[in-house]
């Protein structure tokens, strides 16, 4: 059934359809309406779950860690500063291999204080051992959140489902909502193999002395790499059941593309329209939308962009002192390749600044110029910057 829903409502409804047993909640803009909605579901008896109100995000994720260790399906949601406050526990959750699912509604980080969207928050914790999936629209939020539980539980890795604040979180669009019985069929009851149980005492969170620690990090890395197959497999089963296809990335008109745009999240929607515009004028521009930032789909990205003349990475984050994180990760993916396209990086849309068609055309134009010149001068550029600052670099 189609419903007109915001991104936040889609995330909350997905958690309800997944029959989560424990929700730990602390409000933060622009995530708040997710846990608000879930509190309504619990209060009016639509969802049989323990709803834990805590005093901080650090505690919110800590409560999820404890709950997940008892073997129940757990969920929380956060944004920005909240994710930063959770950062210590992010590493605990992945290190303990607890399949927690969390929504991160992407919002920029202080300072300057901002409540608007960019992806700096989740990008900053890309090394925390969480699977990170990015969504383009509200349908993807619902579908990816449902899939996230199955991916998490079958890999014993926590999953962060990320989507753009306000652009999706507070914007409504039609979403196809599956029946509860269909979701039940897709998400069987969860059995965590090492659940804390007084009848069978065990221990979690033991000290990792130098003789052991490295093996556990290796196991986490191995499972993360294997998770690529799991994300594909779960996407395939989901498609068979619900008719919508999901993978590690989406290729849009890339077959014969000379220039490929690469991005994550809602910006992909705008870029698809721009690709169509270029195609109408006979210009071979395509788009790759990355869905899985961690694990990073090296082989699939190589396949997708390997034959292009240039790739322009548009991203809403920056690793100050280097480049955008997606750009540096793409560079890593292409290292040691016999043939690599020219790579350009465009930092844009920080803290909710609109990424306009004008800016996108500027990015494509610079990339075309690089292709003509056969080299890239100054690969990391900013779009839409005040002219008064342009002279600084």
């Amino acid at each position: 059934m189609k419903k007109f829903m915001t991104g936040n409502d889609s995330a909350a409804l997905a958690a309800k359809l997944a029959r989560v047993k424990v929700i730990s909640a602390y409000p933060i803009t622009p995530q708040t309406t997710i846990v608000e909605k879930l509190s309504e579901f619990v209060a009016n008896g639509e969802l049989d779950a323990e709803y834990i109100k805590v005093e901080s995000e650090h505690s919110a994720l800590s409560a999820c860690v404890g709950a997940a260790a008892t073997g129940v399906r757990t969920f929380t949601a956060t944004s920005s500063q909240g994710l930063m406050l959770m950062s210590e526990i992010l590493f605990v959750a992945s290190g303990l291999r607890l399949p927690i699912v969390m929504t991160n509604v992407n919002r920029s980080l202080s300072a300057p204080l901002s409540i608007w969207c960019d992806q700096q928050d989740s990008v900053a914790v890309r090394d925390s051992g969480w699977i990170q999936l990015y969504c383009e629209n509200n349908q993807e939020i619902l579908d990816s959140t449902i899939q996230a539980f199955r991916i998490a539980e079958e890999t014993l890795l926590p999953v962060m489902v990320c989507f753009d604040g306000y652009i999706l979180s507070h914007t409504a669009e039609p979403v196809d909502v599956p029946e509860q019985s269909e979701v039940d069929g897709f998400l069987p009851q969860y059995n965590y193999p090492y659940a804390l149980d007084p009848e069978h005492p065990g221990s979690i969170g033991a000290v990792g002395v130098p003789d052991y620690y490295e093996e556990f990090r290796f196991m986490l890395q191995e499972e993360m790499l294997k998770a690529k197959e799991k994300i594909l497999e779960v996407g395939k089963i989901f498609a068979e059941k619900f008719g919508r296809k999901y993978g590690l990335l989406e290729r849009y008109r890339t077959e014969d593309a000379e220039i490929i745009l690469l991005t994550m999240g809602s910006l992909a929607g705008s870029l698809k329209d721009m690709v169509d515009e270029y195609r109408q004028h006979g210009e071979r521009v395509g788009l790759v939308k990355l869905r899985s930032f961690r694990p990073f789909p090296v082989r699939e990205l190589k396949d997708a962009v390997g034959n292009a003349k240039a790739v322009a990475v548009l991203e809403k984050d920056v690793s100050p002192g280097l480049s955008g994180a997606l750009f540096s990760d793409l560079s890593t993916a292409l290292i040691n390749s016999k043939k690599s396209p020219l790579l350009m990086n465009f930092i844009c849309g920080l803290a909710g600044r609109d990424v306009s068609p004008l800016q996108i055309r500027e990015a494509v134009k610079s990339t075309l110029e690089a292709v003509e010149a056969g080299e890239v001068k100054n690969p990391v550029r900013w779009l839409g910057l005040r002219e008064t600052l342009m002279g600084l670099r």
Partner: protein, 93 residues
């Protein structure tokens, strides 16, 4: 460092499913100084047993150090009223 349980399968998340297995973890391997008791001087006053923070000294007369768990902190040598315990660097007799 010796590996006491390295033949065991490592479970995801460093989960330990056999309770009480810490006993097998012989933490005495951390020690750099070893307490050695001169039983000619020892009066079995049991101060060392009482003060040992790791319960690595047996409750018997005279008390004996369990070197599998003693981490060599030296508290026993410090509290001994008759100076019967000396700390000797590991590797020396």
């Amino acid at each position: 460092m010796s590996s006491h349980t390295s033949t065991k399968k490592l479970l995801p998340g460093a989960v330990i499913m056999d309770p009480g297995s810490t006993e097998q973890n012989e933490t005495g391997s951390w020690r750099s100084m070893r307490p050695v008791t001169d039983y000619e001087k020892c009066t079995s006053c049991m101060s060392c047993w009482l003060y040992c923070p790791d319960s690595a000294i047996s409750c018997e007369k005279p008390p004996k150090v369990d070197y599998r768990y003693c981490k060599g902190c030296g508290i026993c040598a410090n509290v001994c009223p008759v100076k019967a315990i000396t700390m000797v660097p590991e590797g020396q007799k």
